[in-house]
Amino acid sequence: MHEIRVGFEDILKKQLELAGKNYELLSTHGVKAFNVMGAIGSGKTTVILRLAEALRRRGLRAGAVAGDVAGDDDYRRFRQAGLPAANINTGDDCHLDAHRVHHILEELPLDEIDILFIENVGNLVCPADFPLGTEMDIVVISVTEGGDMVRKHPKIFAQTDVMVINKVDLAEVVGVDPQRLVADYRTVNPHGIAILTDAKIGRGIEELLSALGI
């Protein structure tokens, strides 16, 4: 038996190249996009809806992509709020990828959008491995999922630019200290920005916009 060295070829390179193409396409149309990842039911859609309202007040137009395993509930909420939106059903996949996003970008009126929120599939494991070609990664969790979320999924938090802790109004009821989540986040990601929100009433949304550099 003998060993043959093979030229290094990253099989994930295609994804990276596609993500680069998405970024270029978005830039050509003057769109800044954000990858919104996070736990199931943490309030990703509500956070995006509130961000869109805040952007409208500033004269900026938001758009949204709803990524889910099945259904179009989030998509319909975006449309109801008057946002240009598109829906991606991944079938069995637990994450969005650059290829799927590329197709959906062709369906969106990019010239009518300044800021695009791409809502990823609710999952704290896989989405971090698939770059989409966005400006920044956001991860949304809420206090109702417990105080250990960062410790249980350190990799995604270590790589994400902004962490949103939503439903802070319920912190006391569920007995979770949001500051502990913030401290854990600082440990895994000293340069990340943590924002506390109660998206239902729009609390923390202006701070979040500043964290996104808008």
Binding site: M1, E9, D10, I11, V188
Partner: protein, 129 residues
């Protein structure tokens, strides 16, 4: 959860390569490098590999997977090299921290998300006649 699709991409790229540049003999082992940040179940990948290679020239080959540490680059001080890791107790996995080991500024990941074939172990056929 995406091990199956990774196994398929792996098979596709390796077969394309073998078609271009054939090896003499049977591939016994496929040596892979896996970036430390890539979330991957090795067990699931091995299982997926044995399924997707069935009926191909790579059937029966094994995956030998080596983890490659994250490498980072600092835009502030120019540092390039290994990442810093979580030092605190109670974190049960190795988590690279994206902060410069030299000046604490934010760093970029240069390496550590990839999955690549680096070598093949081939059992040579003994030519007779």
């Amino acid at each position: 959860m995406h091990e199956y699709s990774l196994a398929l991409s792996l098979l596709e790229s390796l077969r394309a390569r073998l078609a271009e540049d054939p090896v003499r003999g049977r591939v016994k082992k496929v040596h892979l490098r896996q970036g430390e940040l890539l979330v991957l179940s090795r067990e699931a990948l091995r299982e997926a590999w044995s399924l997707v290679t069935e009926g191909t020239e790579l059937a029966g080959s094994e995956l030998a997977i080596e983890t490659v540490p994250v490498r980072v680059r600092c835009l502030a001080c120019g540092y390039g090299g290994d990442a810093k890791y979580l030092a605190a107790e109670g974190w049960h996995v190795r988590v690279p921290v994206l902060s410069c080991p030299r000046c604490d500024a934010r760093v970029e990941i240069v390496e550590g998300r990839d999955l690549a074939v680096v070598a093949l172990t081939v059992e040579e056929r003994v030519e007779t006649g």
